[in-house]
């Protein structure tokens, strides 16, 4: 065969280059395939939400609420602490930077816009990806290895309807809610620092914040968090369901899920911002 003869005449470097190219090609195909799988899951989830009840296989509301509790309510303490901290941090950095121009009094504008449009959605998204994305990936990975997903299928219970839709719905509801809470807490934290440092009253600060922010800013931030919610859930599910190799495999897919969802969040953030502010 001509191809085999060719193979023998390739020297080491060319062979390595060929191998590297093949690996890159396979990785790209795997990536596209995973992306397609995630998109298919999303549309199948929509199907179950819309049509499930009419074919007597509804999505269980109790499961959705349980997930909302896990993803949202139980994350409130950590989101509060982190948002407070970030608010204070932004105030400190903002005042320091603007003092170089003697423009400290403008810091409120900077804080309000950057918290609502950028920092809260981003930080809350990353936090929830680490907290709930990993949990979801680990749960699905463990269930897959333990044949629990096969058990669901042989019982006639569709795994997407049972395992994917509840966290997806819960995430899309809870992440924007957490982001909004994060907005309030971060602005409050920044406000406390600003009022102490610049001797502004807190009510003057909040008046200024309300003056500066528009509904558009709020929707910008919350809209992003809806997209992040979908990304976190689907990345976790695609990784968790694709587990191979026992307990170590579960650890691997969990790590991958968190890293990939954070990367997806940051990249989507940039794309969203680029499209929306042109």
């Amino acid at each position: 065969m001509p191809a085999e003869g060719q193979q023998q005449t390739l020297n080491g470097a060319a062979r390595r280059a060929q191998d590297a190219l093949e690996r890159a090609g396979r990785a790209t195909i795997d990536g596209i395939s995973a992306f397609g799988y995630g998109a298919a899951l999303f549309f199948e989830s929509l199907f179950w939400i819309v049509r499930g009840r009419s074919i007597r296989q509804p999505v269980r509301l109790s499961m959705v609420f349980e997930e909302m509790m896990q993803i949202g309510i139980l994350a409130l303490p950590i989101v509060t602490v982190l948002s407070l901290t970030i608010g204070v941090m932004l105030a400190i950095q903002g005042i320091y930077t603007l003092s170089l121009f003697g423009a400290e009094s403008r810091v409120t504008v900077g804080i309000a816009l950057s918290v609502v449009r950028e920092f809260s959605p981003l930080i809350t998204g990353i936090l929830v990806a680490g907290r709930s994305g990993s949990a979801l990936a680990a749960r699905l990975g463990t269930m897959s290895i333990n044949q629990e997903i096969d058990a669901l299928r042989v019982m006639g219970i569709n795994p997407v309807r049972f395992l994917v839709v509840p966290p997806l719905v819960a995430m899309i509801v809870m992440l924007p809610a957490l982001t909004f809470w994060s907005d309030l807490v971060a602005l409050f934290g920044a406000g406390v620092y600003v009022s102490l440092d610049l001797e502004m009253s807190l009510s003057a600060y909040s008046d200024r914040v309300i003056e500066v922010l528009t509904v558009d800013d709020l929707l910008h931030g919350l809209g992003k968090s809806v997209i992040f919610a979908g990304l976190i859930t689907l990345v976790a599910v695609v990784n968790g369901a694709g587990v191979t190799g026992g307990a170590e495999g579960v650890g691997r897919v969990t790590t991958r899920a968190v890293v990939q969802s954070i990367a997806a969040i940051v990249i989507t953030d940039m794309l969203f911002v680029f499209v929306m502010t042109r």
């Binding site: 074919i55 044949q147 629990e148 096969d150 058990a151 042989v154 019982m155 006639g156 219970i157």
Partner: protein
């Protein structure tokens, strides 16, 4: 093809014809055919890597075969739509090798799940049905325990209870007594027979345990490397002239002739 006495006139509930399956480019099952008649205990026996668990996966429509037909309860499952399979799934019970109980729910909740999904019964009735099945498998009172709190034998019993909670026509068991000590394993075998008699089920068991198979099978098939070696009643299998089957049955290890040169090469990695 050899047929069992007494059962061959009863309807065929599971029919596999010329099944060929692959995993990637590897052929796993090679032209496998079998028939399971109503009311019998049918054992699919084979060693590790023989393809027996894979065969079960295809019969349960968890994977699509390369070629061949599979009919379960009269339905061609390879060419059926998911909605058609949905109706079929209500009449089949499966007990997986490691139990596959949902670890986030209690034993009772595990049993109630299929009832909740497929019936309109009220909560109280479902709880009674779950407790009934737990009584039958000898786990009365354990409904509030989590699967992680169960021993190996209890896990298998709970899995069996969940498999039969909907009173299925067909029960599939994947290695029901493996990993258990002989006494517990024998108890599980006996339980399966009792369930078969009490609920009028047909049972298909996948196992590598010879003693279990010969103890409870009406008919069996022996698989090796994806091919069927022999099919028939226990007596017919025991008396088969197939050399490989006799090897498996008598646990004779295959002795290869040792080539010293090749052996030395393998050891030194040259």
């Amino acid at each position: 093809m050899v047929t069992a006495t007494g059962n061959s006139d009863r309807p065929v509930l599971v029919e596999v014809e010329h099944l060929v399956t692959h995993y990637g480019t590897n052929k796993i099952l090679d032209d496998v055919s079998l028939k399971v008649h109503e009311g019998e205990v049918f054992v699919i026996m084979g060693g590790s890597g023989s393809g027996k668990s894979t065969l079960l996966r295809y019969i349960l429509a968890l994977s699509r075969p390369t070629s061949g037909t599979i009919r379960v309860l009269g339905r061609d499952i390879v060419n059926s739509r998911p909605s058609e399979l949905y109706e079929l799934r209500k009449k089949i019970g499966v007990s997986f090798q490691s139990g596959a109980l949902f670890t986030s729910m209690s034993v009772g909740e595990n049993l109630i799940l299929p009832l909740r999904e497929h019936t309109d019964l009220d909560r109280k009735t479902m709880e009674i049905m779950a407790r009934l099945k737990l009584e039958v498998v000898g786990l009365a009172g354990f409904e509030n325990l989590m699967p992680a709190e169960l021993s190996g034998g209890m896990l298998k019993r709970a899995a069996l209870a969940r498999a039969v909670v909907m009173d299925p026509k067909l029960l599939f068991c994947d290695e029901p007594s493996s990993g258990l000590d002989p006494i517990v394993a024998a108890a599980i075998d006996e339980l399966i027979l009792r369930l078969r008699d009490a609920l009028g089920m047909t049972v298909v068991i996948v196992t590598h345990q010879l003693e279990s198979a010969f103890e409870i099978a009406d008919r069996m098939v022996v698989l090796d490397s994806g091919k069927i070696l022999v099919t028939g009643t226990i007596e017919e299998v025991r008396n088969t002239t197939n050399e490989r089957v006799q090897q498996l049955l008598n646990r004779r290890v295959d002795v290869h002739e040792l080539d010293p040169e090749a052996y030395l090469k393998r050891l030194t990695g040259s």
